[in-house]
Amino acid sequence: MHPIYRVARRDLIERWRDGRLLWSSVSLCVLLAVSFGFGWHTYELRGSQRKAIQDSERARWLAQRYRSPHVAAGQGVYVFRPEPLLASLEPGIDSFAGIATHAEEDRHFFTWKPAEDELVAHRFGEVSVASVLQFVVPLFIIVLLYSTFTRDRETGILRLTMSLGVKRWHYVAGKLLGGLAPALVLVPLFLSIAIALRVLAGGAAFVEVVPALIWIAVSFLLLFATFAALALGVSATAKSSRTALLFLLLCWCFTGFIVPHLAVALEERFAATPTASDVLNVLHLYALAERDHGDEFDEIVAELMQKYHSPDLAHLPVSPVGVNRTRSMERGEPVSVAAFDSVYNSYLRHDRLMQWISLASPTSAAQDISTSLAGTGPGEFVDLAHAVEAYRYSLNQTMNRDIVEHCPPTIPGYRLADDYHRGIEVWSQVPAFSYTPVNLNTRILREGIAWSISIFWCVLAMAFAAFRIARMGVDA
């Protein structure tokens, strides 16, 4: 048998006999099965429920009777955040972003975060297929590879092996082969997940997500390669297995948990998201600075009477109340947009920052990429928020237009006429809310920084491993 395969075989046997390979494989299978099961159940429940309720909302909107468009605008429509198929694998921010927002006269944030209903202990992230691959697999890689070179140096086996005339590169190649061969376990696991998804989701839905799934898999492979190279490099460098393991575990903790938490803390201190009360304060100050409604209304009445040569309020062909509402909305819209967007823009800013911060954590880079590609990242959430705002604006515009055109001017005030009621002929002018997420290319490009950093980490780790292995001595 060629020395490379002999060395590789021996390594595999050692890992099998000491239980590491068996236990990590079994644990991984169990964790993936449980997390996939839960992820699919959650996706199916949330997705189908939200779709059904969205349809009910539409029916309710159309079923409104005998009311003014002003009241209808107040009724509004609840828009539910749709659940993408890949949320079953990577829920991302799903539990921490509100599930619905009320598209009505006033703008609202998304409310009712699923996390509100969960116990306080749930603050280290959710167990999902993605989180298992991001956190558990690198840990298993460390456990399997930390002693690749250190064990042989400590026990004197390396010295003995070299003394037999085995070529150095044969030995190293054998070690690499033996160390990385267990990664083949991931192939059937990935395929199983893909097959399960195909069976459960159906052909058409699955085919749509295959490209995203492939890109997600690539990002995970970059992460695994980074940790594998790091483990091999550290093993070639460290004086003892204990030191190697300690260092690698510290790296895992640091990159997986400390850096993201630090990043969040620094973001919130130096680039804080405005609070809802900050937003309300902006709107409140705007409202305080607005002129008295009465003064404004009188001016509009005068203007319209002049424009339409109307002798009095009763003969105006348009409703001054409607005109007042429309103009007030147009004036207030930029203020409202700016106020609310200050929050959403801070999410995008943080996302960018997190991508840069993944210079200290390849795990963060993988997480950024997978959430974006799965459609459960902050960028996609902000896209949806903007789409809902456009819908809300158009709903209000439609209602105001009807008030302008059809509401009889009342005498003397700026209340709507008591006998002004409308029905489905007006409500049906507002289409049902529909949302198409941005395409895959956009989502990939959005995470350009994270991709670059992931590749950089992988290349750096490999270079480090190659450098250290080349300079590795025979003694500890």
Partner: protein, 484 residues
């Protein structure tokens, strides 16, 4: 002996790592917690100020109207302002509903808890009822990752530091060969091991204590008050939790395994207790006791809203609707049956019917949620971290329990709004400037010490059982000779 072990530890590189990581993480966690608490104090103040500023503006408008009447020039008043404006109590209640604001938790600087996900303010409109006012807008990614507060440092980082500095207390000595020489000296091996472990424990424990005291002092300077009793309990539980991990490290060392085995065992225990079990808890709780989703809640509430607010298609139907609803309303409130403002009474009746229906839905949801919470709490006992997490969060005040108290008090506040505004609305009273100060204001009453600590007793027992078991096992192991 303690001093000697201290001097010994001081010379090791790990000492500086322990010191640096402890102080950096405690400093950042403490500062972050203080900033968040301070921001919540500011937010609460801002929301209350906004409400008062709005009322002041209304009061000013109303004052102008009253002066116009008093001066004998009512023609200067715009008629629209008299039809629907500040002279009407319904206008004040509907457009400027009073707010109930949850102030920052007394020890909120120690643990973010649920304060970044649950609503901190409600508006109480006399007809529309209680509605969330200012939802939390924290970045969802930040919520997913979790806040870097002092509790996170205590629960996750400090135990990791203890594990990484203590895993080789004996293993290194054994592997390096110094153990035999050490044990040949006239010193008790047990004392040596415990002193060595306690040096690390004291470094970390004292760092924590200093951080908590410094934070408490900063909060005291800012607010003029600090809950010393609860702070003492929080500190004690935190230190006990760290002692638990220290004892675990000692126990693992006594197994006589290699340093590598010890680090895998302790590191694995940390990963399971701190990360995996808490992460699996909602999965298991949902599997055992699923709760209906909030989407369903919204659906049912919206259906109820349409049912009660949607008018009948014809005049006769609308009259019947009004009569039926008013009849039900007067049955509940016979005191209003003779009041003149039928329109407002009808509006109030619709609002109340809707709220009653939503209450039924809410009760079902809350019951299912409470049941799942109980299941979650039961599962959490398998992780000492999850158990202590709940205790520390409850003591800090940023817990579900305080939130529930806030909701209860907000509902009572809503009742007071009704009691104040309804008579004035239904009797068509004219609102006066002097009445603005009479509008009820919300003042949150903190749960009593008993209310906070009584529910924690079972958790305290669980934690105590964890500590007791580990102590017994370690003491039993200490009786054995060290494996050379």
């Amino acid at each position: 002996m303690f001093l000697r072990e201290w001097k010994f530890f001081y010379k090791l590189p790990i000492f500086w790592i322990v010191l640096a990581v402890s102080w950096l993480s405690l400093g950042l966690g403490g500062w972050n917690g203080y900033k968040r608490w301070s921001s919540q104090v500011t937010q609460a103040r801002l929301l209350n100020q906004q409400f008062e500023a709005t009322l002041a503006r209304r009061q000013e408008s109303l004052s102008k109207i009253e002066k116009a009447f008093a001066s004998g020039h009512p023609e200067t008043i715009r008629p629209s302002n008299l039809i629907w404006g500040v002279t009407q109590p319904q206008f004040i209640s509907a457009n400027d509903p009073p707010v109930s604001v949850l102030p920052a938790a007394p020890l909120g600087f120690l643990a973010t808890g649920r304060s970044d996900t649950l609503p901190r303010s409600y508006t109480s409109s006399a007809f529309r009822g209680l509605e969330p006012n200012a939802p939390t807008t924290d970045d969802p990614v930040a919520l997913l990752i979790g806040d870097f507060d002092l509790k996170f440092v205590v629960l996750a980082i400090l135990p990791l530091i203890l594990v990484l500095s203590c895993f080789d207390l004996l293993a290194t000595e054994r592997e390096d060969g110094t153990l035999r020489l050490l044990l040949s000296q006239p010193t008790s091996f047990r004392r040596l091991l415990l002193y060595r472990a306690s040096v690390r424990g004291v470094l970390v424990g004292v760092s924590l204590l200093v951080t908590i005291v410094a934070l408490a002092f900063a909060v005291y300077l800012a607010s003029g008050f600090i809950w010393t009793g609860r702070l003492a309990v929080y500190t004690t539980v935190s230190e006990a939790y760290l002692a638990f991990w220290l004892l675990a490290a000692v126990g693992v060392n006594l197994l006589g395994r290699s340093g590598t085995s010890n680090s895998l065992l302790l590191g694995g225990t940390w990963a399971i207790m701190v990360i995996f079990l808490p992460g699996m808890t909602p999965v298991l709780a949902e599997a055992i006791s699923p709760t209906p989703s909030r989407a369903l809640y919204i659906d049912l509430a919206r259906a109820a809203r349409l049912e009660f607010y949607n008018a009948a298609p014809d005049e006769q139907g609308r009259k019947l609707q009004e009569q039926t609803m008013l009849a039900a309303f007067f049955k509940r409130h016979p005191e209003w049956a003779k009041e003149p403002n039928r329109q407002s009474l009808y509006l109030a009746s619709k609002g109340e019917e809707f709220n009653l229906e939503v209450e039924k839905i809410t009760k079902q949801f809350d019951a299912a949620r409470e049941h799942q919470d109980k299941i979650s709490a039961s599962i959490s006992v398998f992780s000492v971290t999850a158990t202590v997490d709940q205790i520390l969060t409850a003591i800090s005040g940023n817990s579900d329990a305080r939130q529930a108290t806030f909701l209860r008090q907000s509902l009572k506040f809503f009742s007071r709004q009704k009691e104040y505004f309804w008579p004035r609305i239904f009797r068509n009273e004219v609102f006066r400037t002097s009445q603005f100060v009479e509008i009820p204001r919300f003042a949150f009453t903190e749960p009593s010490t008993q209310e906070v600590f009584q529910p924690l007793l079972p958790l305290g027992l669980v934690f105590g059982a964890w500590c007791a078991s580990l102590t017994i096992i370690t003491l039993w192991q200490l009786r054995r000779k060290p494996i050379l």
